[in-house]
Structure formats: structure tokens, C-alpha cells
């Protein structure tokens, strides 16, 4: 099976949808660790990008997307359309990343 196609449109451009499987989602809640916090605290004085946090969020997003893809794979889909991301701060110092979309089969 080839790689699952992800888009945030209602279609996959250039392909036609033959079957809908419904909602798939994946989420992860990550806490930052103390070392990263310390660095971020220092960086916070001069401002700018907090690279440690950016990496953390990117890893989490990859995880959440991966879980969503696994769900889609189990359903027999080969594409997930209309993908959305959402981030929420759950407790202090932890963030949840949610990825959701509609699993479909395209030609």
C-alpha cells in the first residue's frame, strides 16, 4: 500500500473519492522538560524563537498525525482529507495537539 495522502481540502486534487470512512483523529499530550524550560526562560529575556519548544511541538504534531494515519490505515483508507490541527494548553506546561480529518479511499 502506498503512502496515505493528506490534504486540508474537501477533495484530493486530481483524484476522485470512491469511499468515505468517517472521522479519524490522533492526539498527544506532551510536557516540556526542565532543561528545555531553563533554556526557554533565558531566551525569554531577549525574545525570539524558542527552538526547544518549536521542536517539541513539531514532534508532537508528527505523533498526533501518525496516530491519525494509523487509524485511517486500519479502516482501509488511502487518504485523509480536510485535516485540521488544534492545540490546547491542558495544564501548566503541557500542551495537547490534536489532528483530525476524514478518511477516504481515492482512485
Amino acid at each position: 500500500m502506498n503512502e496515505i495522502i493528506l490534504t486540508n481540502l474537501e477533495t484530493v486534487p486530481g483524484r476522485s473519492i470512491v469511499e468515505h470512512y468517517g472521522l479519524v483523529q490522533g492526539s498527544t499530550i506532551r510536557a516540556k522538560h526542565v532543561g528545555r524550560d531553563l533554556m526557554a526562560g533565558l531566551k525569554n529575556i531577549v525574545g525570539g524563537e524558542l527552538k526547544g519548544y518549536t521542536e517539541l511541538m513539531m514532534e508532537s504534531r508528527r505523533d498526533a498525525t501518525g496516530r491519525m494515519l494509523r487509524q485511517a490505515e486500519e479502516l482501509g483508507a488511502n487518504a485523509v482529507i480536510n485535516v485540521r490541527y488544534s492545540t490546547a494548553s491542558v495544564t501548566q506546561g503541557a500542551a495537547e495537539i490534536l489532528a483530525y480529518g476524514t478518511a477516504v479511499k481515492v482512485e
Binding site: 495522502i5 493528506l6 490534504t7 486540508n8 481540502l9 474537501e10 484530493v12 486534487p13 486530481g14 524550560d37 526557554a40 526562560g41 531566551k43 525569554n44 529575556i45 531577549v46 525574545g47 525570539g48 524563537e49 524558542l50 519548544y53 518549536t54 511541538m57 513539531m58 504534531r61 485535516v83 485540521r84 490541527y85 488544534s86 492545540t87 490546547a88 494548553s89 501548566q92 506546561g93 500542551a95
Partner: protein, 155 residues
């Protein structure tokens, strides 16, 4: 007295280094924006009809940015009177433009980015948490056309 000295140092550091880093970042943003201005990023979902599509995939770019000490100080001051927080708008502007650039750079062979969406969230909430930062995500569907003729010639 000591506390005041520390505050003064932090403010000076935030003002000096923060301003320097920001202008450097803006310079890099402007250069990279100019380099790939010919590839459109749009917020609608439909392609012009009749174009053969080679492939489509999701492109994501994100960044976590924080304000410097001086800006936070200004913002705290501003909160007394209300009104626009100018010191924070440049922060979010930087974040958003950088996120778009990273999204573009993750799919260098794309011809158009459809349905671009932003998502901004404050990832450290709470009063005790001294680190104030926002995360900006930009995502879109990167479409590559099958034919050789590009929609807009890069000149």
C-alpha cells in the same frame, strides 16, 4: 535597590538584544519571502479547472516565539490604560510570516498552496508560568501540477 538594578539590566538586555534579534529575523524573513514570492499561497480550495495535478500533500510549518523582557514590560504598562499592544503585534507578525515560510520550504516543488490556515495558541498558560510564548502553525495543501508550464513564470 538590587532588585531595581536587576530589572534595569533585564530591560536593557531585552531592549537591546531583543531589538537586534528582531531586526535580524525580519531581514531573513524579507529575503526568503522575496525568494519564493512567485509561488502563490491562497486561502481558497478550488483550483483553476482543467489543470492536471501530479500530486497533493499537506504542508505544515510552525514556530514558537516569545516576547522579550522589554516588550512584556511595555505590555504590562499598556494593560493599565488599554488599547492596542503594538509591542506584541510585531511578535505575532514575525511568527506568522516565519510559519508560512517554513510551510513553503517544507514543499519546495509545489506550484500552489491551497486553503492555507493559521492556528495560534498560547502554549504556556497560568500566572506562575513566567515563560510567555505563542505557537503559530500554518498549514495548506501543496499541489504540484503535472504539466511543464508553470502558472506563473519565475522571473
Amino acid at each position: 535597590m538590587e532588585a531595581l538594578a536587576i530589572l534595569a539590566v533585564l530591560l536593557a538586555l531585552g531592549f537591546g538584544a531583543g531589538r537586534h534579534l528582531e531586526s535580524r529575523h525580519y531581514r531573513s524573513i524579507r529575503e526568503r519571502e522575496a525568494a519564493n514570492i512567485h509561488i502563490p499561497v491562497v486561502t481558497f480550495k478550488r483550483l483553476e479547472p482543467g489543470r492536471a495535478v501530479a500530486d497533493a500533500r499537506l504542508a505544515v510549518g510552525s514556530i514558537v516565539v516569545s516576547a522579550d523582557y522589554f516588550k512584556r514590560f511595555l505590555a504590562a504598562f499598556r494593560k493599565i490604560f488599554g488599547g492596542e499592544l503594538h509591542s506584541y503585534s510585531s511578535l505575532l507578525d514575525r511568527g506568522r510570516r516565519e510559519a508560512i515560510l517554513r510551510m513553503r520550504e517544507s514543499c519546495r516543488d509545489a506550484d500552489v498552496f491551497l486553503n492555507c490556515r493559521f492556528e495560534t495558541s498560547s502554549i504556556s498558560k497560568g500566572r506562575q508560568d513566567k515563560i510567555s510564548c505563542v505557537e503559530v502553525i500554518a498549514y495548506a495543501t501543496a499541489v504540484r501540477f503535472a504539466d511543464e508550464v508553470r502558472p506563473q513564470a519565475a522571473d
